[in-house]
């Protein structure tokens, strides 16, 4: 294992020390609870947005805390859900009197821990909490026989869009409804060229030969649905875009936000090359791109590979997308 670390056990806490040191103007970090907050604290009357999950997906979620996006992010160990104590503390701290929305990616551990936090918060009284669970990964069959689709790329877009709505003063119910609507309007599909190494495990989560790729991966170094021989980017783009297009039921004339996300170990030059292939495919399908996002936003440590997320976007979605955002991971208009 070659990593820029001191001790595998300290990776998360030392990374949070670095985030606090790098962004004192925007972030405040509760190091005991491993929670990233906005430096300015909660705003009276604004719905608080709390997310969180395992670490190793940076900049998500801590890097999306700030004006126009999240109010707090709870960091778990690498690829391990945070615990209810953290979500409870974050929920209380960001409540500006208008309630708190939990944004949870659909993984068994995340869902159970957020559920326990919501139960404890209800028993504790005081803060009104609603939750939205993202599950946009078309690689996973959504059936009674799986844990359901995973929450991946749409989570980033949702945190931005619902963050803008909360900033405008919408109610908790309105924010929760919008979040549900955004989740339903987006789908993703990912692939890996390499595995990744969880620092405390010390070796790659799975083995992938030099001439192989894994299609339908998630963001935790878990193997995907199928292993295939490595193919040109053009063919890989088709393997990712087509299932998303058909699952979303997109047709000629529809507009989307198109998001090509890097898994952490793939350079931007390749992500832009992929974006070109994706945009060609969308043009061929008659789908127009209203906005795009290209880069490493929801990663899987140093895994090489990418995912494609398409979000059906009407004018209102685009307006909220364009609203000012000022976070370490995403910034425009502010």
């Amino acid at each position: 294992m070659k990593k820029l670390i001191n001790d595998p056990a300290d990776v998360v806490s030392e990374a949070l020390l670095g985030m606090a040191a790098a962004h004192p103007d925007r972030l405040r970090v509760d190091h005991d609870h491993k929670i990233v907050y906005r430096a300015a604290g909660p705003r009276e009357g604004k719905v608080g947005l709390v997310s969180g999950g395992g670490s190793g997906h940076e900049p998500m979620h801590g890097g999306f805390v700030g004006t126009g996006m999240l109010d707090a992010a709870c960091a778990g160990e690498v690829f391990t859900s945070p615990v209810p104590d953290q979500m409870m503390a974050a929920t209380k701290a960001v409540d500006g009197g208008a309630g708190v929305l939990h944004i949870v990616k659909n993984y068994t551990g995340d869902v159970m821990n957020f559920e326990m936090a919501a139960e404890l918060a209800a028993a504790d009284a005081g803060t009104e909490v609603k939750s939205v669970v993202t599950d946009d990964d078309v690689a996973v069959q959504d059936s009674l026989y799986t844990a359901g689709r995973r929450g991946v790329g749409v989570t980033v877009l949702l945190e931005k869009i619902v963050g803008a709505a909360a900033e405008e003063g919408r109610s908790l119910q309105e924010c929760a409804d919008l979040a549900t609507q955004v989740n339903r309007a987006g789908r993703s599909m990912g692939m890996a060229l390499t595995s990744c190494t969880v620092p405390s495990a010390g070796r790659p989560t799975f083995d992938l030969a030099e001439d192989e790729m894994e299609i339908g991966i998630g963001i935790h170094g878990e193997p995907g649905r199928e292993r295939k021989p490595l193919a040109p980017a053009k063919d890989i783009a088709a393997m990712l875009v087509e299932p998303v297009l058909s699952d979303l039921g997109l047709s000629r004339g529809d507009g989307v936000i198109a998001f090509v996300n890097g898994m952490g170990g793939t350079p931007l030059i390749e992500l832009y090359l992929m974006y070109h292939e994706v945009s060609q495919l969308l043009e061929g399908a008659g789908v127009s791109v209203a906005r795009s996002l290209v880069g490493n936003y929801i990663t899987s440590l140093e895994m090489a590979g990418c995912s494609v997320t398409l979000l059906r976007a009407d004018d209102e979605t685009v307006r909220l997308w364009d609203a000012p955002v000022n976070t370490p991971g995403l910034r425009w208009g502010a």
Binding site: F79, S81, G109, M116, Y145, A147, A201, T205, E222, P223
Partner: protein, 208 residues
């Protein structure tokens, strides 16, 4: 009979076992999950083992509740809420019981496993820890009906749990992260079922 001291001995023993088996549990999880089960369980059980030193507990019930909360707060993932809920519920039937016999421990185990079901919503043969718990409860009940004492019932439960764990090898996962693999989850033993069997084997050594 199981009293506060034996429950504390159970947790000390389990922490040792998890420490020894942590790499093995993580390896099992690497095959069909995300390679952290041993690491997470070791982090939590070390904290649990330290409770007896750090605090005086008035009863088995109070101690086991604290064990549950500690696991919920330290393990993370799905195992934290599942094992945490198990111990929180296990404590219930032991309220006011200083020395628990085979009947009381049986009621507590059933309550704990009901908690796991409520939290995880797993069914038999979903390839989860429940596949190790369900046969254990059955064997415990049968042994009790046959007149076994606490040790005998726990030994029967641990042995049945081990068979349930081994039977997860051929199952296709329908819950948890392994379910994303579909058919590819077949041929691997479930890590949660494995840590469950270790917990019951540890109980058979320490609680009677």
């Amino acid at each position: 009979m199981a009293d506060l001291q034996s429950f504390q001995g159970w947790m000390a023993d389990y922490a040792e076992v998890v420490k020894e088996q942590a790499d093995y549990l993580t390896d099992l999880d690497r095959a069909i999950g995300d390679a952290d089960h041993g690491i997470n369980m070791a982090r939590g059980t070390v904290k649990v083992a330290a409770l007896a030193e750090a605090e005086d507990f008035a009863s088995s019930e109070a101690y086991l509740k604290k064990v549950g909360m500690t696991l919920v707060s330290t393990v993370g993932g799905a195992s934290g809420p599942l094992y945490g809920t198990f111990f929180l519920r296990l404590a219930g039937p032991l309220a006011g019981v200083a020395d628990a016999g085979v009947e009381e421990v049986g009621a507590a185990l059933r309550a704990g496993v009901d908690g796991i079901l409520a939290r995880g919503k797993a069914e038999l043969e979903d390839k989860t820890m429940y596949d190790a718990w369900a046969p254990a409860l059955d064997a415990y009940a049968t042994a009790t009906a046959d007149g076994a004492d606490l040790r005998g019932a726990l030994e029967a439960a641990a042995a049945a749990s081990a068979r349930g764990r081994d039977d997860t090898l051929d199952l296709v996962a329908r819950k948890g992260r392994a379910s994303y693999l579909g058919e590819r989850s077949r041929g691997h033993i479930d890590p949660g079922a494995t840590s469950t069997t270790l917990l019951l084997e540890s109980a058979a050594r320490t609680l009677a």
